[in-house]
Symmetry: C2
Subunit: 358 residues, 2 copies
């Protein structure tokens, strides 16, 4: 069977890390007899430079026609001065909306061999961290009405953004979280601010309704301020954490920092059906771009998530993940995760090692 | 001179910790020759139980007429089932609005003698943490329009909340943050989500304008997701952190957890002039209420903040703070901060020790 994959190398270290992930995918293809057809498109700052738009129509078209998208990273200081709609971030939001990606899955996993990288005290981390954050990605304050207005007071111009959630939007992300929990430790923590926000009260009531269809899963509610504390106090209490677009943006970054392995963490953005967009959670790191210093592991693990979720190739995904674990256990490290007694390698060499370990 | 202080003991451990703070204030009064007149009022769950309202008119009146308010804690599971406007949280929001408290100051300080309580690795904490979080408290999504509506689609009912900030609102909180920075390390980090939110773009542009009046202070902008990471990665980079009501709710709780000393942290809510409301950042902890187990230090330090900020009694404030430090250095601990080799004491005894140390 042939799988059509759109590649978005993007900006900064994006192209380097995508290159390694593609080599890994090609190795999987050869070993297991699958055909992966790649189409590379421009999105982000590089697209703006080439076409004047961060998300050209043809790029979005290619993504829409493919079975899955693999993205490196977009953005960089170079484009920070542009007006909002021309900035690389606008391309990301455009992809999410244009591809119907309403769910963002971000595993926050502490790899056994990277325990020293974890900023938390070792007694808090215990036997490791394994949280699956499910962030709503197509609604809330990111996509609500926004604008400026002047009120009849002496406070000057006002800017506003509307946080809104409908029952249907909460339903689909909630169900996805409960389905994830079924495959894991059967616990869902729904994070909201129901003591203040009306949208959170709707969110919470829908979660309670969904829970009735999943008697095997325990549902817990937590206020967002408390969640920000609990992730530090006792991250091991979480299994699946489901929340809004805005709260998910904050908490998923906090959770990844807690693992201390930002260069290692993949993510998946999903819509209806099997289609998905996969990307590392790290940024484009323009300061180290082109220097063979970037850690390609997060992108390689994103490719593994793609195989598992979009293509149902569980064994192939495991093969990649186990190869990564073996290479880390072998003591090989890119600069971002280097520690005493380990062997320093570059981007390409890390790719080689993972391919050899497969 | 006589100072009029309204006391809100509130719920759970509130009354116990307020009692110790009042004893400390009376000692200060005797030593330095000040007269503190206390009036105790009902706010929170206890007020609801007694009057059917969490914030009775007379209670708010008393606060409005006083020079400062000292609050223990409000809320508890007992009242969680009530409709929003009758819940203890509504009283808090009512006090903030009714007293014009637009700024919430929350120092996140790691006390030298409590280093073991910090959940971060000791190399990250280094010589300690001292961040002053300035949270906007009377605007944003907390007080914006909210409601329910049905759209013409098949997604069902929708709930919404409006995040809005005017130039005037950002000005006053921004100036307060820059003024704080002048008395500290002269750095302000303004946290927003200007790559997505229109209200954040206005927020950022006002901060940039204010900075022109404070050439001695360095202004830095940080996205909220990054701030949630940086607080863990390198908390020592922050001096004054200023942000919106919602982001401040999340980040200030994260920052206090990072210090590992929630029972130790005071807060001040300020409006125009010298008036302020002072309270510990911890909650009402109904599970340990009335058992002489609560840590009164956060409330006692809140009283010290009150002396400094509302009454300009700097020496008196220092006297209290130094007494607390001496007692901690003496190895005395309430259960929440107990560690090996320390002496366990109860709420009242901790109060005694601090009074003796003064
Ligand atoms: C770049 C930005 C718009 C984006 C977001 O806030 O969603 C990023 O922070 C992310 O989490 O993917
Ligand atoms: C109780 C709640 C409404 C309140 C808030 O969100 O402001 C609390 O979390 C706080 O930070 O004081």
């Amino acid at each position: 069977m042939a799988y059509q994959i759109t590649l978005i190398p993007g900006d900064g270290i994006g192209p380097e890390v995508i290159k390694e992930a593609v080599r890994v995918l090609e190795t999987v293809g050869d070993t297991f007899g699958h055909q992966f057809d790649f189409e590379e498109v421009l999105v982000g700052g590089c697209a703006y430079d080439a076409t004047g738009e961060p998300l050209p129509r043809e790029s979005l078209d290619s993504c829409q026609k493919s079975d899955a998208v693999l993205l490196g990273a977009v953005g960089g200081e170079k484009w920070d001065g542009l007006p909002g709609h021309q900035r690389p971030e606008a391309a990301l939001l455009g992809l999410r909306k244009g591809l119907g990606l309403y769910a963002n899955l971000r595993p926050a996993i502490l790899h056994e061999s990277l325990k020293n990288a974890c900023p938390l005290r070792s007694d808090i981390v215990g036997e490791g961290i394994d949280i699956c954050i499910v962030r709503e990605l197509m609604g809330g304050i990111y996509f609500g009405e926004k604008g400026r207005r002047t009120n009849n007071d002496d406070m000057g111009e006002e800017a506003f953004d509307v946080e809104a959630y409908s029952v249907g939007e909460v339903e689909r992300i909630g169900r996805l979280a409960f389905e994830m929990a079924l495959k894991r430790d059967r616990k869902v923590t729904s994070v909201d601010k129901a003591n203040v926000l009306e949208s959170s009260r709707l969110w919470r009531s829908v979660m309670i309704e969904i829970a009735k269809d999943y008697p095997e899963v325990t549902l817990e509610h937590m206020y967002v301020d408390n969640a920000a504390m609990q992730l530090i106090r006792n991250p091991r209490q979480f299994d699946v954490l489901v929340t809004t677009n805005m709260f998910g943006d904050i908490l998923s970054d906090e959770a990844s920092m807690i693992t201390g392995s930002i260069g290692m963490l993949p993510s998946a953005s999903l819509g209806e059906g099997k289609f998905g967009m996969y990307e590392p959670i790290h940024g484009s790191a323009p300061d180290i771009a082109g220097q063979d210093k970037a850690n390609p592991i997060a992108t390689i693990l994103s490719a593994a998530m793609m195989l598992r979720i979009s293509f149902d190739l569980e064994n192939e995904a495991k093969e990649i993940e186990e190869a990564v674990t073996r290479v880390l256990e072998g003591g090989y490290r890119t600069p971002d995760i280097m520690s005493d007694g380990c062997k320093l390698v570059g981007t390409a060499e890390m790719g080689n090692l993972i391919i050899q370990a497969m």
